[in-house]
Symmetry: C2
Subunit: 259 residues, 2 copies
């Protein structure tokens, strides 16, 4: 399963870090659970035994057990669902930003089921911050603000904020926005984007975002931002995506070596 | 400063999230501090006023203040240094994986000072996990294991674990490893890498890593992994990098749009 994660036992996955001092108990528990996951004793989306049962099995306190479980959650190997217990995380969705493929397409291609939910859609002025960020002529320029939540299988994985220049795609709000936006732009408006500039880094989910993604409050997320340009090289769309920390791996191939 | 971060006031930077309920006090404090940072009232690497002083200024408890400061730390806007107080984070280093440019070079090009520190270097068998991960012929294949810490200006930002196939670059351990490894491979061994496969996602720093990067324990990091192939397409190097969450932004440009 999940070959993009160091799922072998911790000593092998991080050979440099385990040469010296004996590990604290919660790290040994973490490593044992990781080994079980790697051996597929616990398949994706299966429920872990109850915390009480696990604490007995590892002969540790609930506090120590929770430390181990929280590490596994942070590493994206398990997740909590609506306080009903702990579940094994499915493999991360792999996203290659250099390929021409949108969310609905690349999730499907990985044998998973994508779904898009439109939470909010309105028209208004861009405002100073967005105008500067997008390189628009002035802050009063009309844009569409969309907020969408995207799901993989039964899990919300991504909050997406799209800003689109209104004159580039008028009547957008009359369309079905719970689908592929880029496909809609192409098929309804005959538009393609000529070029995109991407930026990504870890970023903490705020409380509301964490709740919307069923992640623990204060959970770290993965932030992706994409500024796209239209046929004449003009800025037309600015997307900001906040991913659950365990849902996405960005992958790409490069030619030649860093020197 | 720092134009890759939403440094405008919170209401502008996240227009969708502030339309409704009034914000809790610590979020208002966070936003006020963000505004001060955006206005350059607090330049990079300057020290914030003492917590007691800030709590007085915002008429809040130390607990509330700390909640706000921890959010700012998670967002990469401030950092703690050796318990001597809070400091304003410098801009993230921008790394474009599609360009042929290594750490020492791209950090210098951004007007910052890179430094590489070799923490460990040894020869040994790859082991089962690495052999599988790298696609080596067998687990006994000899590799060099390097562990290096890389600095930008006065801050450690990155722990790097390099694994290199020993027969590809014999005598590597006799070289100066506190410099650009790829430059060394090219100049000393006449090697270039033909192709690399990259993978990146958020990942929690373990306690030792967090300490080595002067980050808070349990802090989230940014994980980058790079498998590089040699002149004949054979796997030659496997790098794993753990970055401070606030130190790096991955940027790239793509042609054409996701459909």
């Amino acid at each position: 399963m999940n070959d993009d994660l160091p799922l072998a036992d911790g000593a092998q996955a991080r050979p440099y870090l385990s040469l010296r001092a004996p590990q604290p108990h919660y790290l040994r528990i973490r490593d044992q659970l990781v080994t079980d996951l790697a051996r597929d004793l616990l398949p994706a989306d299966s429920q872990l035994p109850a915390e009480r049962e696990l604490a007995e099995r590892f002969a540790c306190t609930r506090v120590t057990l929770r430390q181990a479980l929280q590490l596994l959650e942070s590493d994206g190997l398990i997740y909590r669902q609506n306080r009903r217990g702990w579940y094994v995380s499915p493999p991360r969705i792999r996203y290659d930003p250099t390929r021409i493929s949108g969310f609905m397409e690349y999730v499907t291609a990985q044998g998973r089921t994508p779904r898009t939910e439109c939470l909010q859609a309105q028209r208004g002025p861009a405002g100073a911050w967005l105008a500067k960020r997008m390189g628009l002529d002035h802050p009063e320029q009309q844009v569409f603000h969309l907020q969408r939540r995207r799901w993989v299988d039964q899990r919300p994985v991504l909050l997406e904020y799209n800003v689109l220049v209104a004159e580039w795609c008028p009547e957008l709000l009359g369309q079905d926005l719970s689908t592929s936006l880029t496909q809609l732009l192409r098929e309804r408006f005959g538009h393609v984007q000529s070029r995109s500039a991407l930026l990504m880094h870890p970023e903490t989910l705020d409380e509301k975002q964490a709740a919307q993604l069923q992640a623990s409050p204060g959970s770290n997320g993965f932030y992706l931002e994409r500024l796209s340009f239209g046929e004449q090289g003009q800025p037309v769309e600015f997307d900001r995506e906040f991913w659950r920390p365990d849902a996405l791996a960005v992958v790409l191939e490069t030619q030649g070596a860093p020197l």
